[in-house]
Amino acid sequence: MTNLLEIRDLHKRYGTVEVLKGVDCSMRQGDVISIIGSSGSGKTTMLRCINMLEEFQGGTISIDGQEIGYETVGGVRRRKPEREIARQRALTGMAFQQFNLFPHMTAAGNVMLGLVKVKKMSRDEARGLAEKWLDRVGLLSRKDHYPGQLSGGQQQRVAIARAIAMNPKLMLFDEVTSALDPELVNEVLQVIKGLAEDGMSMLIVTHEMRFAYEVSSRVIFMNQGRIGEEGNPREMFLKPKTERLAEFLKTSTFN
């Protein structure tokens, strides 16, 4: 059986600065992997390469066996056509630190856009699905509200519903609670936990160590553009093998 996600020797440069220096990672259906590490370690960049929000210069990323973003024809590596990349992006769903809801659309409208325009559903069908997912994140009663009328936590839950309604094979969470007031963090984490219990495959970049510990089947510690250490959360948090991870855990709150 092919892995859901297969990353091999991923290299990413901004100009001359190499931010990913050869990352390997594989993931099976149903895995929940948290990526931790200090800022600038490359964890968000790695996530953004998976859905081609960032270009990368070396290595391959495959989802369900199909190579993402690039193809090699006659020994020459080149970017796939934009239409193909757009289609591949729909294999994954992404939630962002800043929510990035479309401010001119209602909560339901945000969720429906991709269903209607990408999945080519009828508006009625899309509305039904949008309402199902808004209900799932506890916001059915807010479906006709605009993002400006919602709290940060509510906006993030709508953003998660928008991504998940597209039925992605893999969900990417990019520091989804970092922009939230402390009292709103939990409602978002509960939604993600619920998805994990449903068997959704997820890659989660987070600074919430307690959450990573509880929800993950595996944890990856990124350090200076490489994977510094990885393993099950129990070993990682309680018995770190590397100096760097022990150091990092000491400076982060685990409560």
């Binding site: 859905n51 081609m52 929000l53 934009e82 239409r83 757009a86 289609r87 992006r89 729909a90 994954t92 769903g93 992404m94 962002f96 800043q98 929510f99 990035n100 809801l101 479309f102 401010p103 001119h104 856009l113 991709g114 325009k117 990408v118 509200h145 605009y146 400006g148 009328q149 953003a159 928008r162 991504a163 597209m166």
Partner: protein
């Protein structure tokens, strides 16, 4: 014989009304043409290939740095020397449309650039292609953003239409001057013309407010 202003106004009603009609046609045509052209200018300023961008940037900077009157005169007198023979009305509308396009282009560019990057990224993340992203995410937000300034530009075009009197287009100002040269009631008729321009621009402004209200996003 002592004709009062109202009598003179009645006598001059037909040329003045026709003048007003011509002013409105000039404004409408140049706003519509200038806006359509300006949207392409704005898009080119952001999305075109580098050399095209520089070219369009040069175009807008040059046009915006030139007085409208000079554009009007150039359009009428200079174009004819290179074999493009336009009537005063056509030449004038062309000049105003070009002027309008450079302003609308800047408005469109500014509006699009004010939209956070995250919007495009979120649209990409759900699998929208670029044309779809533009049509459903960026475009609607940019339109709302640009609307107030666009209304302002439209009102400016109405005012700029008076410059066409210089090249002999029979719009409201020229007709008014003709009436004045016959009646010597300069104060009254200039005031009257000013009042008509005000009514047109006030109408545009009210209409802009109305559209703004209609398209406002609740928050």
């Amino acid at each position: 014989m002592d004709f009062g202003f109202l009598d003179q106004l009645w006598v001059a009603r037909i040329p003045l009304l026709k003048g007003l009609g011509v002013s409105i046609s000039i404004s409408l045509l140049s706003i519509v043409a200038g806006t359509v052209l300006g949207i392409f200018v704005g898009l080119a300023l952001i999305y075109a290939y580098r050399p095209v961008q520089w070219l369009v940037r040069g175009y807008t900077d040059f046009i915006r740095g030139t007085p409208v009157l000079v554009l009007v005169l150039a359009s009428y007198y200079v174009l004819s020397t290179v074999g493009i023979d336009l009537g005063p009305f056509q030449a004038g509308v062309l000049a105003l449309a070009v002027f309008c396009s450079s302003h609308v282009g800047e408005l469109v560019r500014g509006a699009l650039q004010s939209i956070p990057k995250g919007q495009t990224e979120a649209a990409k993340a759900i699998g929208l292609t670029f044309p779809q992203t533009f049509a459903y995410v960026l475009g609607p937000q940019a339109l709302r953003q640009a609307l107030p300034a666009w209304v302002n530009t439209a009102a400016e075009m109405v005012k700029a239409s008076t410059l066409l009197s210089i090249i002999g287009v029979g719009e409201l100002l020229l007709r008014t001057q003709e009436v004045i040269s016959r009646t010597f009631m300069s104060l009254e008729f200039y005031f009257f013309a000013g009042f008509l321009y005000f009514v047109v621009n006030y109408g545009i402004e009210r209409f802009g407010r109305y559209v703004e209200r209609k398209t406002a996003v609740p928050s």
